[in-house]
Every structure is written in C-alpha cells, then in structure tokens.
C-alpha cells in the first residue's frame, strides 16, 4: 500500500515545489493546532494540481473553483483526523477525489444546475485556461475547437467513476493500481471503469477515428 502511495504522491505536485517531508510534517502539525499560516502553506503546496484536476473534470472555471474550495474546506475541517498513517498527499487527494466524485454525481443527477450548454460556454472554458500548443491557422483552430468540444461532450457522457478513472489514467498518466487507491476502490474496479470508458469513447468518437 505504501508503494502505491509513493507512486501516487509522485504525481502531485511538482517535485521542485515539494517541501522535504520533515518540513511538511511540521506544517501539518502546526495546521492541526490551528495555525492558519501553516494551513495556507499546505494549500499552496498542492492547490495548483488540485485546480488542474478540477478543471479537467468540470465544464467551467466557476465549477472548478467550487470544487477547489469544497475540497480544501473539507481538508481544513478534517485535518485533525490525519494521523500520519499514510502520506499526506495521498490522504489529501482522497479527499479531493471524493469531492470531485460527489460533484460529478450531483451534476449527473441535476443537469439543470450546470451552466447553460451553449457553444459559447465551451469557448469560455477553453479560453480561461492557457493553451500552450503551437499556433494553428484559423481553419485548423476552428476544427480543433470542434474536436475539443466533441471530446468534452463524449467525456461528459461517461459516468462519474469512469470519467474520473479515465482522466487520471489517460490524461494524468497515473497507474490503475494508484487510481484504485486514490478512489478508495480496487485495481480491478478501476480497470473495468477504464475499459468501459474507452469503449464508450470509441463509439462516441467513431467518426473522428
């Protein structure tokens, strides 16, 4: 289990920004005693990756911000329960994944709460985040946006668990064993989710393949 945790932790956040473990433990202890500055430091250590993950899973920056806030508030409320039995990053990302899965389930059940689905909203979403691909000519750019919209729509039709597993495996490059650990499920379940997700995407995007 610890091997999995280490593997997981390696994905978040960038190594360069990671404090040495002893410093992190000290920060956690101070935050557990109510030191707000220490908690803020922990947030800044991990929040970029949390926000990136949230942006991948939801349709808009506003929703990503809600996820970000819900996740860190939950971490803040339950930090006292963290007992150093696992890596802090593993514990934190479990909390984040639970918030994301809850959000996706709620979103699935209450489609009316989503921001209005019009072409503008997708444009807004993609303009909000930086795109570091090489410049494309206008025609390719338009086509690219159409394809991006199709992919986004196909992903939105996966169920929350399939969507999450697919995002983590395909776009984050995380191993299925680690994903199972993160989502509180088995590697086999994660494997089944990935299989179903790829089958659905293959059907939904058949005309583009």
């Amino acid at each position: 289990m610890d091997g999995t945790c280490l593997e997981l932790a390696g994905k978040f956040p960038a190594e360069g920004s990671r404090l040495v473990e002893a410093d992190e433990r000290e920060l956690i202890r101070r935050a557990q005693r109510g030191d707000r500055a220490a908690f803020d430091a922990l947030v800044r250590l991990y929040d970029h990756e949390v926000l990136r993950l949230a942006l991948k899973l939801v349709r808009s920056p506003e929703e990503a911000q809600d996820l970000y806030q819900d996740a860190f508030l939950k971490v803040y409320r339950s930090l006292a329960l963290f007992r150093f039995d696992s890596r802090f990053s593993t514990w934190l990302y479990r909390v984040v994944m639970n918030v994301c899965l809850d959000h996706l389930r709620r979103q699935k059940g209450r489609s009316e709460v989503q921001a209005p689905a019009n072409p503008e909203s997708d444009t807004e979403y993609f303009q909000t985040v930086a795109d570091d691909r090489p410049e494309l000519d206008p025609e390719r750019s338009l086509k690219g946006r159409e394809i991006a919209g199709r992919i986004q729509s196909a992903l939105a039709h996966l169920n929350p668990r399939e969507r999450t597993v697919f995002e983590l495996r395909h776009y984050q490059g995380m191993k299925l064993r680690a994903i199972g650990e993160l989502c509180g499920t088995s590697e086999e379940t994660a494997k089944n989710c990935l299989f179903r997700a790829t089958q659905k995407l293959r059907v939904a995007l058949a005309d583009l393949v």
Binding site: R36, D47, S60, Y68, V113, N118, E120, F126, I147, L176
Partner: protein, 324 residues
C-alpha cells in the same frame, strides 16, 4: 482465423487492447499479446483503430489554470476559511431570532437537525417543538460569547439539505455537538432567515442550490425576494445564477428590472447573460417600465453581442409603441 483457439484469443485480446496501450499488462500478457499480433491482421487493425482514438483524444486542449484563476481561487478560499473559523457562529450572529433559541437537545450527540414540513400549507410547529420553543421563550438571548458554550455547542457547518418532493418535507442537517429537531414553515422567520443566510453566504454550492430550490417557492416574501436577487447577481456558480434568474421570473417590479439590467451589464457567462436579457425584455415590455429606456437604448447601440443589441432594440421599439 479459422482456428477456434485463435478466435478466442482474438476476443481475449480485444478485451486487453486498451490495457496494452496503457501499458497495464503484465510482462507475460504483453508478450502473448505481441506474439498474437504478429499473426493476426484483424487485431493489428483493432490496435491501429485504438491508437487513432488516442490521437484524437490528444487533441483535447491541455488544461492549465491561469494565474488569475489560481489567485482568485486562493482569495475565495481565504475568505471561506475566515468564515469557517467563525463557522456557524457568524451566521447565527446575523440571525437574532434563531440565536435566541435555547437548544435543549441531549448532550454528546453530533448532529443538529432542523426538519421543515409542508411548504405552502401554513405549517404549524409540532407540539413538542412548540413546547421546546415556549420553554425557552423567556430565556435570555444568547450573546456572541454564548455561542460557543456547552449549552449550544460548536456548530461548524451544514452538511446536507435534502428536500422530499413527495412529502414536501425538508431536512437540514448541521454539524454540531447537540441534536435538536425543529419543525416549522417558511412563514417562520427563524427558518426563513436561516435559509436566506445560507443561500447568500454559504460556501457549498450544493447546499446553496438546495436552499434556492426551497426559497423560490416564497419569492413573495421581501427577504426571500432580496436573497434571490442577490443570488442571481452574485452567486459564484454560473448554474446557480441561472437557477436564481429562473426563480425570480415570476416576480415583478422595478427592483427586479434593475437587478436584471445589472446582470445584463456585468454577467460574464454568455448563457446567463442571454437569459437575463430575455427576462429583462419580457418584464419591461409587460410592465411598461419606461425608466429602463435609456439603459436599453445604450445596450441596443453599443453592446458587443448582436443578440443583446437586437433584443434591447426590439424592447425599446415595443416600449415606444413603434414596433415593426
């Protein structure tokens, strides 16, 4: 392919195909897979199809939070943590009627539960709750310093609001140290103020959404009306701003028109903005509110969105009685 074993193998390999590409097969499985590929054109084709799917999926733009979004998120979290440190004490301070209640539940329990029954039916308090309220009626009001005392316990946050459409019952679950059940209606100012406070300032979007759902049934109440307009203008979630916009559609009046105009002028989400301009046009035309004319004319001339310009121009024509 005529060989039955190979056919089975093809089926097995089709199942394993995604995991081959994701490098999730064991060494033996991978070797067997590759050996089969050498002799099976069909499976090679299937693998190629999957590779092309991966190429298509790679065309999804890389999502990176902008520095502005990161800063915005951090600032919002900072404010939420400020409120969190005060917790429900802050909300209770703004709700004098609720704060005046004495919570007389059994000690040591972890939940405070408020149960509301029968919206729209002019509910009455159930006897045991009424007794509780009456029993505490003459008790001195809780001061700020009382809010963390053992008598009330520390109330940290709302964990759930779950309306039941069949019975009209709503249960609000709040994390705390004691358990109390209150039953009342939206006519009860304490309940109303609690929900109005939650829809305006609570951090969790799901809770705000559930609260909005309940409050929109009483948009005739001035405090609820104000809260709905506030949510339409200020809720951080675009979906909830749109929900609030729908909720105020049954209302009338110049404050509504002004709020809708604010949304048209300042909203960044195009879907919400277009819905707001539609609502503004309908309300202003129906209620013949000529005070909106200058603002509508300005939008009709200069708004960057052609739809907004067109909608405002037709509303101006309708108000001036010279519609084509």
């Amino acid at each position: 392919m005529a060989n039955e074993g190979v056919t089975m193998n093809c089926n097995d390999l089709e199942q394993a195909l995604p995991f081959y590409l994701y490098d999730e097969l064991s060494g033996d499985e991978r070797a067997a897979y590759e050996k089969h590929l050498e002799s099976c054109q069909l499976c090679r084709q299937a693998l190629e199809d999957f590779r092309r799917l991966h190429e298509v999926l790679a065309r999804r733009p890389r999502v990176e939070p902008t520095p502005e979004l990161v800063v915005h998120c951090r600032q919002a979290l900072d404010q939420a943590l400020d409120r969190e440190q005060l917790g429900w004490r802050a909300l209770l301070r703004s709700l004098p009627a609720l704060a005046s209640l004495r919570f007389a539940g059994s000690g040591g329990l972890a939940m405070l539960t408020l149960v509301l029954f029968g919206f729209g039916l002019g509910w009455t308090l159930r006897p045991h709750t009424a007794a509780l309220l009456n029993a505490t009626k003459n008790a001195p009001s809780l001061e700020k310093s009382d809010l963390g005392t053992p008598e009330l316990g520390h109330i940290s946050d709302i964990s759930q609001i779950s309306p039941d459409p069949k019975t009209g019952e709503v249960r609000i679950t709040v994390n705390a140290e004691r358990r109390v059940t209150l039953e009342g209606s939206l006519d009860d100012p304490r309940i109303r103020e609690l929900l109005v406070g939650a829809v305006k300032s609570y951090d969790n979007a799901g809770i705000r959404r559930d609260t909005l759902d309940i409050l929109k049934q009483r948009s005739d109440n001035p405090a609820v009306r104000e809260a709905l307009l506030h949510a339409m203008r200020n809720d951080p979630n675009a979906g909830l701003r749109l929900e609030a916009l729908k909720a105020v559609d049954g209302m009338e009046g110049e404050d509504l028109h002004q709020a809708l105009l604010d949304v048209v002028e300042h909203e960044k989400n195009p879907g919400v903005r277009f819905a707001a301009v539609d609502a503004l046009a309908n309300h202003v035309t129906k209620e013949k509110d000529n005070t909106m004319l200058p603002a509508l004319e300005e939008l009709a001339r200069n708004d960057p969105e052609s739809y907004v310009r067109m909608r405002c121009a037709s509303t101006v024509h309708a108000l001036l009685g010279d519609a084509p």
